[in-house]
Symmetry: C2
Subunit: 448 residues, 2 copies
């Protein structure tokens, strides 16, 4: 028999304990920020009927990028490529029972059939936060404040990222009235704007000319050239400043200033695949030169809950991803050093003291210390090597001598310092160390 | 357009915040017990190549019960129906880099194509814990101690569950030498024993006779009748007592007694689908009359890592499930009452005080309080109703009067008591409440 491949499925990742420490640090930070703002956790199935995606997402996402198949009962199902349709379905199903504003969040995995590349995987993890039931711009202000805080919570300073904001209704008006495009042209122009930072200014201009057609090209491209220089809502062409969406944007920027969000700015070129957004759209960008990319985005989508046959519920949401967040933290050197969740490894010099070591481990556990015992019966140098591989911060040796004196050799792996300590002192040392780790983390939150 | 169904996919569950509180309580307890014993968390992809399941699991599981399909690159993949093959693959891939004993755990979802019924869902969650690299019975003792503690950690008493233990090598010997069955007969007999508690004694006898065949039936059924009365290893027929597996079992029961595991017992009729177990097997049974069933199981499987083309690594593992655990806790009334993770809902009597309420929320958050603000602009009675639906323990009213006096109406939802408190006092009240919740939980662990 040939042996099986040890590789994970293409585009997916195995998380070993060292990878898991980074992931748990990011997830824990998300949980904290979400709960601090009154968001409650939910979860949805990994498999959904395909039609909840085809009904609203971009055609590309629903048809080309989705893992879809027919089950043994002839149902066409999909591994979820995103959370928004699932949570919209859940809200629709319990529309009457939920209290509004309903603030809901989840941390979950998704799959998309894509060519794997840096920062893009077939299986990926996202934090989804959504507020349901608020039609006013206070909901956007809350979501954007949380988007800001979710980055700041990792110790980021304001110059490390920017938040770009636009509005779908403004985009529609811009395409229709200001640039005078029909629906087909507008759709092409939105896609061109989406690619703007990935192509040269010349290519952008050439493709814009193609969309306008020969007659309108000169006037159209002049208008676009002007639009691109717009920095603030009040710099917009007068006819666009007068629409309701412009007013909403001004109100939103006021609220963000009050909330202390310092790096949000208006970006008339931000499009963010328009498929289901109905109002404000935003993206959080990493400003690091090596990682200059969108980290995550969000916006208002008021139409999704209504697809499930109930009265629509206004919604604003966002979805930061694990890998983009990790790349951001790595670029800016914001990731702390992690050790194992195991506090103490007990090294057993000879087989005879194993049972005593097991009892000591049990006593330490009762005091809240996370302990493992080497029960392999191997030589002591092999046991020590294993502890180093696992990045456990402390070793305790339990040999005959230690059992007699009730003083145990306690080794701090990082400093290599050794002491003889009672069990009581070992507990104190471990707890002090943990407390220090927590303080470092808290300190990091207040560094600018 | 007809509207989409609001139902989740058949056999899967939506977890609303109230469901999530129960799930998080169970998951948090698993995390605590695993980490206390030095187990480190890992994660694996939700999709794996199908062959890692067909190579070792039961044929039924790999072929009939697995969600399998062909991806767009012609790879045959499966949504994982269990964790064991994935973690075996991961250990094989980093065999040299891992420190041994490697103690690894995960909490993850799985899918099996089954007819949904009470306690059996198509998508289900499991806690998988495995120890790699220990061939001696100390590994079984550790896993069984952790199985015991994982149930006790929810406040269960010893009479609420039993742990039944057997050994695959003993089963093999019993079938071959003692009952004198050939391989085909032995396989049928194992399956019959597996069904023993689901059929009548008469049916059991009749089917046993069929397996033995006419000539051997009388002697065979007499031997089985004797086997079924066996309560301890030392009651086994002499020829079975002499094999190595019997010695291992005796050593294991000694270790469990030392570790304080009080409800483990030998059960010669425990078979536990033999497909990959190579030594000890065990199951944890709920003793409640309304829920008399296996909660979870585990055992030794030394052959799986080797399927990936590396030297085999001895392994012992277990896999408690979310739904069986929840049914156990419900049967024995062990589930605490939960409230929202949100500590405080700010009720805003008029639209004018909303921005002040947002600032107060921010101040409370900086002190570690989880706060939401009602930004819906609805009437106060609707706001209060929403708080009750969400099961948030406290309300704070921020109206004109409160802003002037800096004393805020603070309402304890459970007792309906109202007070006027400063922000500082509100923080103290919330933290005292949380601390009390934690103490109740800690107390519960020590109730017998």
């Amino acid at each position: 028999m040939t042996s099986l491949s040890m590789q994970p499925y293409k585009g997916t990742r195995d998380f070993y304990p060292a990878d898991m420490r980074v992931r748990n640090y990011i997830f824990d930070t998300w949980h904290k920020v979400a709960r601090a703002h009154g968001y409650e956790e939910y979860a949805a199935p990994v498999l959904e009927p395909l039609e909840i995606y085809t009904a609203k997402s971009g055609q590309e996402l629903a048809t080309e990028q989705t893992y879809t198949f027919t089950d043994r009962g002839e149902r066409v199902v999909a591994i979820r490529p995103e959370m928004t349709p699932s949570i919209s379905r859940m809200v629709a199903a319990r529309r009457q029972e939920l209290g509004y504003p309903a603030r809901l969040y989840s941390i979950a995995n998704f799959m998309r059939y894509e060519r794997p590349q840096r920062g893009r995987e077939r299986e990926f993890w996202q934090f989804n936060a959504d507020i349901f039931g608020v039609s006013g711009v206070l909901a956007e202000a809350e979501m954007l404040t949380m988007a800001y805080e979710v980055v700041k919570a990792f110790g980021a300073s304001d110059d490390m990222f920017t938040i770009r904001i636009n509005n779908r209704k403004l985009i529609d008006e811009m395409m229709r009235s200001y640039l005078e495009l029909d629906a087909v042209q507008a759709n092409l122009m939105v896609k061109l704007f989406d690619r703007k930072n990935k192509i040269s200014p010349e290519d952008f201009r050439d493709q814009a000319v193609d969309i306008f057609g020969e007659d309108a090209a000169a006037g159209g491209t002049a208008k676009i050239a002007k639009l691109i220089t717009v920095q603030q809502v009040r710099d917009l062409p007068k006819e666009l400043q007068e629409i309701e969406a412009a007013g909403e944007l001004l109100e939103l920027f006021d609220l963000l200033e009050t909330a202390g969000v310092k790096n949000a700015r208006f970006d008339v070129t931000l499009m963010r695949g328009l498929d289901y957004y109905t109002g404000t759209v935003f993206e959080v960008f990493d400003t690091h030169p090596d990682n200059n990319r969108a980290m995550f985005g969000g916006g208002r989508y008021d139409g999704l809950v209504g697809l499930f046959g109930v009265e629509p519920v206004p919604t604003v949401g966002m979805a930061p991803g694990l890998t983009p967040t990790q790349l951001f933290l790595e670029s800016h050197k914001l990731l702390p050093e992690f050790v194992s969740t195991t506090d103490v490894s007990i090294v057993v010099p000879s087989r005879e003291t194993t049972e005593s070591a097991l009892k000591i481990a049990q006593e330490l556990r009762e005091e809240g210390v996370n302990v493992e015992v080497d029960i392999s019966g191997r030589k002591i140098d092999k046991q020590i090597k294993a502890v180093l591989k696992k990045q456990v911060p402390f070793m305790v040796f339990v040999g005959e001598e230690e059992l007699k004196s009730k003083l145990y050799t306690f080794k701090d792996v990082a400093s290599e310092a050794e002491e003889k300590l009672s069990l009581e002192r070992i507990v104190t040392r471990v707890k002090d160390y943990r407390r220090k780790g927590m303080m470092d983390e808290i300190d990091a939150l207040f560094v600018e």
